[in-house]
Symmetry: C2
Subunit: 380 residues, 2 copies
């Protein structure tokens, strides 16, 4: 028996009380029992998104809501700035291209956050840009982008919206939808929401809805306006993922019980402990300047095969972390600390890493990383 | 306490062993444990679809795969025949219009199956038609369309494909994908697959893949070709609905244990018993000529308010059936008998209906409908 620990950046572990809630007999989605769930879900989502707006709910993974954040608001031939600093930034540009929108790409070196000055330059050079697409947390590199600074610039421009992929940011660190004037914020169920994948969310500003009126791109399943009309009636336009919504209702209760401030503080603590633990082992952070509190990306040390770290830590120790994606494959590994995560998940991750590296011939003084992590966990 | 019974055409009740499987700790979708599940799922789906092809899996409800069955195969300005005999037939035409495909609509009176001669006429008059979109089972009216007859005509035409929405047909009655030369067959998780909503499936023929090469319509999340490349590696292009796939793996085991022939016979028996029970109460079937074995649509008797039937049977007796949709609202009600359904679900439905109608002043001889249903259940 090897006990299993899931420490990858989504899906994240699901609290037992949520698993059990989803194991209850299913309810019909056009019946009062479901509408009661949706009513509570709507309120809870507003709380987590920090918004007065309705939050739309889709039966899809986050990418579906990202697609809708292009197809519902832009027109064929429109220009959009895409901050490309990793796999998910690139996804924004791919979606734009697929729909006939012209991406104005800001290519950011992997591991770095975008410089707001570069966004300003792109906005100034392309005054006709309709939208700026960016990640709050770029999961593939472990970077947090300066969303507020970008939002402040976009706010000044009447016909430009900011669209934030907050899939691994929402419920991890502070991304207040309304306070920062974020026009569209997209999230997904399998991250800080502690649920299985299969739900995507989107909050939309009045400024964005205005753009939607002129949009001529095709959309059917991800029709934001159709969903906006349904959600106020505690319904969805198409058959919703009922069991996940039953779980979401329970998750939102947990998040309210803990409180957003405590949730952010917990994630900050776990992230810092992970970073300090990793550094104490002589390893180098991949995104030292602007790390996301959702996931810590670490450079694979010289002379060690990156794929072996993720394989041994999983197969020999039962700890699932993530490797690098795309061109980062073999060069980094990623330890997640979001969602249903606490102190001993960090301790587990760092100690498993110590043992794994030792097996691979990397010089490790057992307990050194764990000790550094514990210091943070006790001090903060 | 009012014990609850779900007898609506989706979501359908979920077997306890499947609920428990989905309540197990979630696994990471880029790890061997998941790929093992997917390998079994692939085989199981081929069995239920009766195909040698790979069956694509989407994290969405069935409508998402329907959208993809347009956006991946057609070009802007292409013509497509849409059999419109209910809400879901109309959905095909809506999707086509949204994507710039010109629908050639065959409007079929609600409650009737399409006449294959009308499809032949439309095909002859529009030799450039690229696709015929049809439901195997039109859930909104309880009608089964003559899919085989249409497929036989389409087979002869080199550049035309037949696309079948089999969302409430697959696993209910015989719709053999390969044997009938169905080019695209779409299904969803919350019907005969006995799962919560959130998964959609699609099987695609070589003839359809050829069309896909020329398609110029935008698609990203529902990119069939991208999914086809992933599925053979036991993966999906985007984050899959992992917990539902864990449940699907279990469901497919159950379906193999029972065997397709027995599954079809069970549904035929339950459907016939429901129809006979309803008729014995003096009620009129809405689709007497070509009823689907998934759901029985019944005309609301003169002088009774349709909405009251579905409300009283649910609120007073705990039995959730479905009303009519769109223009059928208040005119019909629908009793489902698909998925995890057996004899006493029919008995429950008919006896609850007897008591409900009696309350509403409709003359009922208690036990008459139930007796007629029992006769079928014991004879068949």
């Amino acid at each position: 028996m090897i006990k299993q620990y899931l420490l990858a950046p989504g899906p994240t572990p699901i609290p037992p009380r949520v698993l059990l809630k989803m194991a209850e007999p299913i309810v019909h989605h056009r019946a009062p029992a479901f509408e009661k769930i949706m009513e509570e879900v709507r309120e809870g989502l507003k709380y987590v998104f920090q918004t007065e707006r309705e939050v739309l709910v889709f039966a899809s993974s986050g990418t579906g809501a990202m697609e809708g954040a292009v197809s519902n608001f832009l027109k064929r031939g429109d220009k959009a700035i895409c901050v490309r600093g990793g796999k998910f930034g690139e996804r924004w540009a791919e979606i734009c291209e697929q729909f006939g929108v012209i991406p104005v790409n800001i290519d950011v070196p992997y591991g770095k956050a975008v410089d707001p000055a570069d966004v300003k330059k792109a906005l100034d050079e392309n005054p006709d840009v309709k939208a700026v697409y960016v990640q709050a947390s770029e999961t593939s590199t472990g970077v947090a982008h300066p969303v507020k600074e970008i939002a402040d610039m976009v706010k000044e421009r009447e016909n430009t919206i900011i669209v934030v992929d907050a899939i691994t940011a929402l419920g991890v660190f502070d991304v207040p939808t309304d306070a920062w004037n974020l026009d569209i914020v997209v999230a997904g169920s399998q991250k800080a929401f502690m649920l299985p994948p299969g739900l995507a969310f989107a909050a939309v500003s009045e400024k964005a809805w205005k753009l939607a009126e002129e949009s001529d791109l095709p959309k059917y399943y991800f029709d934001y306006r159709k969903e906006a009309k349904s959600i106020v009636k505690n319904q969805t336009a198409y058959t919703p993922a009922v069991s996940l919504l039953m779980g979401l209702c329970e998750v939102l209760r947990m998040m309210k019980e803990e409180g957003l401030e405590n949730i952010f503080a917990r994630h900050a603590r776990l992230a810092k402990a992970t970073r300090e633990g990793v550094k104490a082992l002589g390893l180098e952070l991949f995104a030292p300047d602007s790390p996301s509190n959702a996931v810590t990306a670490v450079k694979v040390p010289e002379g060690i095969e990156g794929g072996k770290i993720t394989k041994i830590i999983r197969d020999e120790y039962g700890v699932t972390i993530a490797g690098g994606q795309g061109s980062m494959k073999g060069k980094i590994f990623r330890i997640a600390h979001l969602g249903y995560a606490d102190k001993f998940d960090v301790i587990t991750a760092i100690s498993a890493l110590e043992m794994t590296l030792n097996r691979l011939g990397y010089p490790v003084e057992f307990g050194k990383g764990v000790g550094a992590a514990m210091k943070v966990l006790e001090e903060e």
